[in-house]
Symmetry: C5
Subunit: 261 residues, 5 copies
């Protein structure tokens, strides 16, 4: 579970509840299943219409992914790259084959395989970058989807409010119903703004954060693979790759190897 | 028929109908031919004014295209490229001529023809990229048109509402008509928002999706053509081109050739 | 006359008139010279303040240009380039001098002159690109001006409405005037939105379309000039330049020369 | 004085006055010192908070600069560059030293000095581009400041209106004051929109125009300096640099030298 | 303390207080703890949900940093680089080791160390740029966070207002409470706009300013390090690096060395 997402949204929902209680307002008038139906399925439908058929099945997993979160341990990656550089330096590039089994990260495995296949440096870079871009493009599609839902929701909220107003204005004969009608009409606007700003826009931001972190992590791997192939020394490799890490994680080659041993 | 577009928009329309019924609102006051005329032809007219004369005839086909959808089987393209690379490797580049008849994709055909003409690599890339950009530019024009219609519609909705309000405010003598006048005035706002968000903006998004997919598909072909011309082995070519595909479609050279046989 | 602009805007104006008649609204309350003065001269003044003194005189011509339209026959340009390439191939580059008189397009003339002057390829490209960019920059200024007018107009519409509301609210003693005062106040909002969306924003879009088409047309000329200078064969040149054209205009070298003969 | 700015804004202010008179509205209710204080100092304060301490002193000069305007005579610059090229061609690059005293433009002086110092071409380009970017960055800061003021002003106008509404709504006991209270409340909204759209946004646009023109002018100098250093002939230099000018100023080398003599 | 931020925001708050007093409005109705809770914790929660867990602890420090400000003395950096260049010129690059202890700036230290390690020029540039980008990316995350808070605040203000309106409209039986209810409802809108425009958006702008200044400062160091490694003379280095400074700080090599001595 992504603590920042869960905690942040919980805090936001609590702030609505607490402030409503403090103002002495009641929650009864804030409950409206019809507003939920209009805002939720309307916005989802309009946003889904722009997806590929194949991507429809990725909506729920992407929501779960944003709730579950993801983290990329770039410092561990640097240590792993240092070990590979060490092997390559001491025993030659082909000795990396023995380590292939230990590598869990798919992207690092692919890069190591390309070195083993004797592919030249420029092609390794191209192939890995095509992979990175393809991954990024697939993620961007889902991020755009959540942003689209978050963008359509206030619009469908307004559609519901205008429909309610038009009906209310046609029945002005009974003015006692005026307030109640307008209250119901406003409910869809409220739902549209709340669901957009407390669900789908945060989902989109979180997915973008995860995607950016994944790209950054792949960039470390790509840089390391090319450096290993170019025969860079493990010490130099660590100094270079640690530039990607925050200053607190600049521990140096010896400490990394000691910690990994 | 593009199931995502049809299904998504159907869900959105249904959500409006269901929620209106749930609220006990009636549909009678929501019907207004004059609002339809203003929003639809007003926005269409303003958006059409920015088109080239030649592109006016492409409006209806582009709507049909977004409804019909389009898909690009990049995996099949990779297999096809592998077969061409196989022929080129075994029998020489000129042997590709015998396969020219089997190629249906215009872009791949053009690329293969350029190889056969003995055009050098840089010029092949330039010529194919000019073609890709020209196709993309033509599509962007239509996408912009649908976005423009979707942008003008709420504006024309507001124009209708303001005209209605001005007329209503001038006739305040009969207050019993006030509500009805305002209800009619609001109808154009409703139509503007609905038609924009449930037709033209989704059309634009879908056309953009199709155009992006087509460009990505052409990119696979371009990359493959240049690799074949450079004499890359079919095995290596498949490894490279599969980077463009989602991981589930990374089946490798042997499986592709077996499946194609 | 640009048929798309004239026809589109006529359709949009008609849709307003037809829908107003259908609703039984009258046009009398929609006429207000003071609203016209405020919206038109206010927005024009604010937008003009950001122009160069020299560009003030280009406002009216730019409006006329957007109404008149402009078209660029890139297919004819390709044929012309093919003829020049033919001459250069058969009689040498210097023989182009005899054709200089027939060339009407200023940009093509300049490029041909540079070849004749024996300027090297890189400098020809630089000089022509400086020219293209300078033309584009001059056009962008006018496009921005029309967009600025279209952006200021709804704002000045709102200024007029707020001024009207403030005056009306200060005279609440006579409630019978309330509606009429508010109707007049709303008129500037209506004018601001109408003039922006049915004049200046479409003007800006049309000018942008013309400018983009001119840049694309210059790109064809630039590419052709460099290819001729590089000694490309007319057949190859046509194949290359036709990539810029829509598929329906890919007629090939022989047909072009036959048609031109 | 920049005639376009002064004339444009005068026209915009006049249009407000004329239309207010035409509607028979009075100016008395439009005067409110408190609204001025809130909108002007509120927006200025919020925008100033994002400036560097050193830049606070540049606010007033930048306003004066936008009012005074600035023009760059690129045609004169081309003539000057042609003369320098002439000297360099005939008497050698070091003879430029004798002309250094006549050069007023700081940027041209710096470039000429770099040539005299015998700095190599690539470094001259780098050094001059660093200078251009540094100038552009300093200008962008002030442009952003004026845009920020123009962006904050309507917001502070709304803050004042909401404060007024809240106070008015708490005193509904005396309905006769309702209209007057709301009129005063609306005044800050009016001031916010007027000051933003008729002062700070036009100031920002004008400063941007001046900055763009200065960059373009520096680009001509940079291009000319590099061409002179590369030993380009004065005739060729004029042909090249005139590409930056509008067609009406393409007068050629001989006419320039004749006019300058 | 950053005087521009503190002074600017103080001026903005004062302008609200002064104008409220001038209008004879009272502050009592402007105080609402429930509105504070909703706007502050709601917006904070929604924005926090998009942060990495690790970055939650950086929120308060980033606010303090924007209040405290930061300045980068690029002129002193140029002098320091001139001294290092002087040492490298006279005693050789390895003599820089003796100066390493005096260097406080981490980035300059890292660059000098890379020179001492004999790393080649291209790798020095790459390593330092990776470091610059990583620093910039970390800062951008916090800037985006403050912008997100500033963006969510008016939205949560509107949520509170709509909740208040819905409750008020459901209790129209007692019209004497109507005004008071609406006044309370509007308070969250006011708080949302004020806290966004007078706290979090200015915080974001100030952090962006600091981050841009830091990047510019690192750019001077990077340029200087590469020039020293390339053996540029101290005089030439000063001339080059002073291009980054405003004209008033172009004092030249001799004055810098004299002042530093």
């Amino acid at each position: 579970m992504d603590i920042a997402l869960i905690g942040g949204l919980a805090m936001a929902f609590l702030s609505i509840i607490v402030s409503t209680v403090m103002d002495g307002n009641s929650f009864g008038p804030l409950i409206g299943p019809s507003s939920f139906v209009l805002v939720f399925f309307g916005a989802l439908g309009s946003a889904m219409s722009s997806l590929d058929k194949e991507d429809l099945g990725r909506i729920v997993p992407s929501i779960l992914k944003s709730i579950k979160g993801a983290s990329f341990d770039n410092s561990a990656t640097v240590t792993m790259m240092a070990q590979l550089a060490d092997v390559a330096r001491r025993e030659g590039v082909l000795a990396l084959e023995s380590r292939l089994g230990e590598i869990e990260d798919e992207f690092l495995k692919k890069g190591t395989q390309l070195i083993l296949d004797g592919v030249d440096s420029e092609r390794v870079e191209e192939t890995l970058m095509i992979h990175m871009e393809a991954v990024g493009t697939r993620h961007k599609k889902m991020i755009s989807f959540h942003e689209a839902v978050g963008g359509y929701m206030p619009t469908f909220g307004m559609i519901g409010t205008v429909i309610g107003l038009i009906n209310m204005l046609g029945n002005l004969a009974d003015p006692s119903q005026l307030g109640a009608g307008m209250a119901v009409a406003l409910l869809t606007t409220l739902y549209g703004v709340i669901f957009a700003n407390m669900m789908f826009l945060p989902f989109a931001s979180k997915l973008k954060l995860i995607s950016d972190a994944e790209q950054a992590s792949m960039q470390v791997v790509l840089d390391g693979i090319l450096s290993i192939q170019a025969g860079m020394s493990p010490q130099m490799l660590v100094e270079r790759l640690e530039s990607y890490l925050p200053p607190s994680e600049h521990v140096g080659y010896s400490d990394r190897m000691a910690a990994a041993a």
